[in-house]
Symmetry: C2
Subunit: 244 residues, 2 copies
């Protein structure tokens, strides 16, 4: 039996946002590995071993997946959203680079990433050029985050922020808002999309002047419009056009 | 009967990448509107009117959808990829802003956007902070594109380019490569992902020094790594970490 590793994106939460491609991989798997709330989204069945693990154990999990595949097992590593956006795909290739054994068959299966699910609920805030920034400084220096924020604002990108806030980093999101206020006008629209597509979903759009750090938590994606982003009724959208 | 408008993302091409949410909306629709190759991906059935139209008719198509919904029809506007990324969602809200009639019920349904499908085939090139830029200057001044490219390179974002090249803009993609060569090192990895998830799929990664304009066409998404993006076997990935 030939083992393999699939890194699959489960989307933001709703089962109706999981692709048939990912469902098919899960149906063939012998093992599912991942952060425990994501593994909890996979239905148990005979012959399937569910191996939830904690956050910040990404590299160990990826190495374990490679090891299991070498034994002939069919392993799905589950990510929320898309596995290639601040999720498990990079960790798997890091583990592969460090491994001494030959690489098993690997496939990455895309999913609906949080910023696109959030944007769809908000309207079309990412309808023009945009960037995605992970605001956690667990794996990069805080100075780099500040520099990227300023350059992104100067480029007039719409911006999506992942991991805007956690208990261990209470001072950082206030600083992000401060930088945005230095670089952007006070009426700039900023949307807070919490737990999109789950029963806890909450969407709120305010101006940058009105934004407070408490509007974001660990389950929130934050989307900042560009200078042309505006409201139409309850929707927020970024026009396709910029005039010369 | 209450009409509605749904803007739905069909993903990059493969039916296995269409979400169940989008399939459910199509099953309830009376009308499907969109650019003709996307409408061609929807199975005909009795009671469903398929209305394909040409490219660059986005606003007319969106206004028509609003008009049909006001008559009680259930309208799905189909986009390839995700409707919120350089696609029909913004056009719909522009049409809504210009409309005098009350807004119908509107929903935006996310899809797998081309850059994430491409990234999954390439490995994990967007595994760290990144930006998405539409290289077409149909709706914005070329100078803004050049400015964004330089700022994105200076921020060390990985970059995904939509619409890199068309027959009507032959000189622009060569200029993009020129700017990237001014801002980035010659060994920077650049991937060309054509027609991902279709029978015509072709993926190729070269260094910036080796890249030529002919490697991109209208059906290509181009992904430029950041300064740390590297190869492991046949894969290309961007590490999660940046050291201080």
């Amino acid at each position: 039996m030939t083992g393999w590793v699939v890194v699959a994106g489960l989307g933001p939460g709703d089962a109706a946002l999981v692709t048939p491609e990912v469902e098919a991989a899960l149906a063939e798997a012998t093992d599912v590995l991942g952060y425990f709330p994501y593994v909890a989204r996979v239905a148990p069945r005979p012959g399937l071993t569910l191996s939830p693990s904690d956050n910040r154990e990404e590299l160990d999990r990826a190495s374990e997946a490679l090891r299991l595949a070498a034994e002939g097992r069919r392993v799905v590593i589950v990510s929320s959203g898309d596995p290639g956006v601040f999720a498990m795909a990079s960790a798997l290739f890091e583990a592969l680079e460090a491994a001494t054994a030959p690489a098993p068959q690997i496939r990455v299966l895309p999913g609906i990433t949080a910023m696109l699910a959030a944007a769809a609920r908000i309207g079309a805030p990412l309808g023009h050029d945009f960037c995605a920034i992970n605001l956690s400084d667990n794996l990069k220096p805080w100075e780099l985050i500040e520099r990227r924020l300023r350059l992104a604002a100067q480029a007039d990108f719409a911006m999506a922020f992942y991991n805007p806030r956690s208990k261990s980093r209470p001072h950082q999101f206030p600083r992000v808002l401060e930088i945005l206020r230095e670089e952007c006008e006070p009426g700039r629209l900023i949307s807070f999309a919490r737990a999109v597509s789950t029963p806890d979903e909450a969407i709120r759009t305010v101006t940058l002047a009105e934004a407070t750090p408490e509007m974001a938590d660990m389950r929130t994606v934050v989307i900042v419009g560009n200078s042309a982003t505006r409201r139409v009724g309850d929707w927020v959208y970024t026009p396709r056009s910029v005039s010369a």
